[in-house]
Symmetry: C2
Subunit: 353 residues, 2 copies
Amino acid sequence: MSESSRSVRLLLIGLGNVGRRVLELLVQKRAVLSERFGLSLILVGAADSSGAAVQSAGLDAQEIVRLKTTGLGVAEYAGAGRPGSTALEVVETVSADILLEAAPANLKDGQPGLACIATALDRGMHVVTADKAPLVLAYPSLQNLAQEHNVQLRFSATVGGGLPAVNIGRRDLGPATIERLEGILNLTTNYILTRMAEGQSYTEALAQAQAAGHAETDPRLDVDGWDAASKLVILAHSVLGYPATLEDVEREGITHLTGDKLRQAAAAGNCIKPVASAEKEGDNYRLRVGPIALPTEHPLAMLGAEQMGIVYHTDINGQIAASVVEETPLPTAAAMLRDVVEILELHSARFML
Amino acid sequence: MSESSRSVRLLLIGLGNVGRRVLELLVQKRAVLSERFGLSLILVGAADSSGAAVQSAGLDAQEIVRLKTTGLGVAEYAGAGRPGSTALEVVETVSADILLEAAPANLKDGQPGLACIATALDRGMHVVTADKAPLVLAYPSLQNLAQEHNVQLRFSATVGGGLPAVNIGRRDLGPATIERLEGILNLTTNYILTRMAEGQSYTEALAQAQAAGHAETDPRLDVDGWDAASKLVILAHSVLGYPATLEDVEREGITHLTGDKLRQAAAAGNCIKPVASAEKEGDNYRLRVGPIALPTEHPLAMLGAEQMGIVYHTDINGQIAASVVEETPLPTAAAMLRDVVEILELHSARFML
């Protein structure tokens, strides 16, 4: 590790499929972060449903992974575990530079993520979230809070995992007008429809998607379109500058589709895909989520079971498509790490002046 | 225009296919730049092969477009024209905040772009370039110069035009290791091979690509692979952290290919595409440019005549593909504009603290 590495203190809440891979990346990428960016990331607190572990000198990420792999909670961490402590208590009491929020999405009230994010911003921490719910429910107020405290709120992991869907829209198309966007933003439903078209049953395909760590804990969030609608709401706020809510999204699930119907479409030269779209209509956008028959030459029709993608139709940047092959939740964790690095690079640029 | 718009002074050198569209965008996007970013961009100097025009209160971009469209040079600009003045003289003598460099790529010695960029950085201007040659010949020293003067050198327009190929690699894959990248980075050769597979002759296809403004002034830069090799060298420096030169690129042109050969490949289920690739071999990358038979399901095989694309194979972000449909050079000009906005956003973030 470089001697001049800058130490940055992290809190991590949520140790499920994504959070555990964040821990693995902290170990795997330690040398790269030091060499390329001069960063030394120190995990000073972590929380899951069992409780928390806090250690200002830094927790051993590998030890937490070991605990989780053996079915234990982080509260069992020897010498630093705090059984029964909540994620919010950790955010309220531990000093850190960045909160990583990877709790399960709770579209009812956004908790526990929403309170943790708001508290972290209020305490002057940057926030990187993979949890969509707080953004879906409170994007404008969270961004205001971040601005008020001169900190960053980043969320490139929330839409498309490793795919930089948000970043392309926000940064690369800044001066453009987006006339339309279309995306396969939910991997589970794309996985299921692709496998069903190949002959699997709905139940088999869903079970496989869950086994691979793709599906939300409650599959209705995926198959009824809530997850894709949430991502569309986040894109609307962050990329389209259009403050939509879940109620603004016309939403259709995939559970009424049969293998026969999928194969009939294929025979007619189409491919039924779960598409989220936003179409400009005057000053507004029409937001929709649901299965659509796409011609096989459409950029989204070509995406296989473990792919997600997005197409931006713009006025001045042409038509830009991007896709990701995502076989595990690792790229989502990697997206959180890129947000961390980007925040710190931006702030080191500021410090230079 | 918003009353609080921040005035930013631009110089533009090179008024060919790209530069003229930059002028058009300055007019077309004036309101958007003010509303979204609080920016008022003022063109204080412009240069082409006829000479220059300089006006500190701002030149009329539309008037310059009119001059160029009627076959005149910018030196004919009434009241501000400077016949015979060079681009370098403008950069040396006019005060501005950002240099936009859109001169033709000159791989022999990088001029006039190289001297203009170095001078601008030295004078404390940010630089946005669509001209590959200076970067190919002097990437490290130009970046050092930028750093020394605390200014930005941006070049997202140089690789793939409107496609954010550089930005995805640099920003979104920062902590990742790129095991391999493959791209269709030269539109002209993809255009020609696609049209030849459809039955056109090489000459017809080249003429069409030139008419659409896609081809370099000297077609050998495209069809002998120099343009794609240049882009690969820029990606190597900026994304792979691998300081390559043009001599490091194994390069094969497309002029030996026949329509028969292209159709034979298609009959065998393949598609011959002009591919630039970098493959990690230990600490180095093997860099190659040339026609390759891709299976039809390959993400680059699907790209039509007016598309470019790139695929990043990474260790932690999955496999990320991105493509653009680019029917004119407008998206390349739009890429220069996005670089301008990004530089100014970064600097306004700094000013906030």
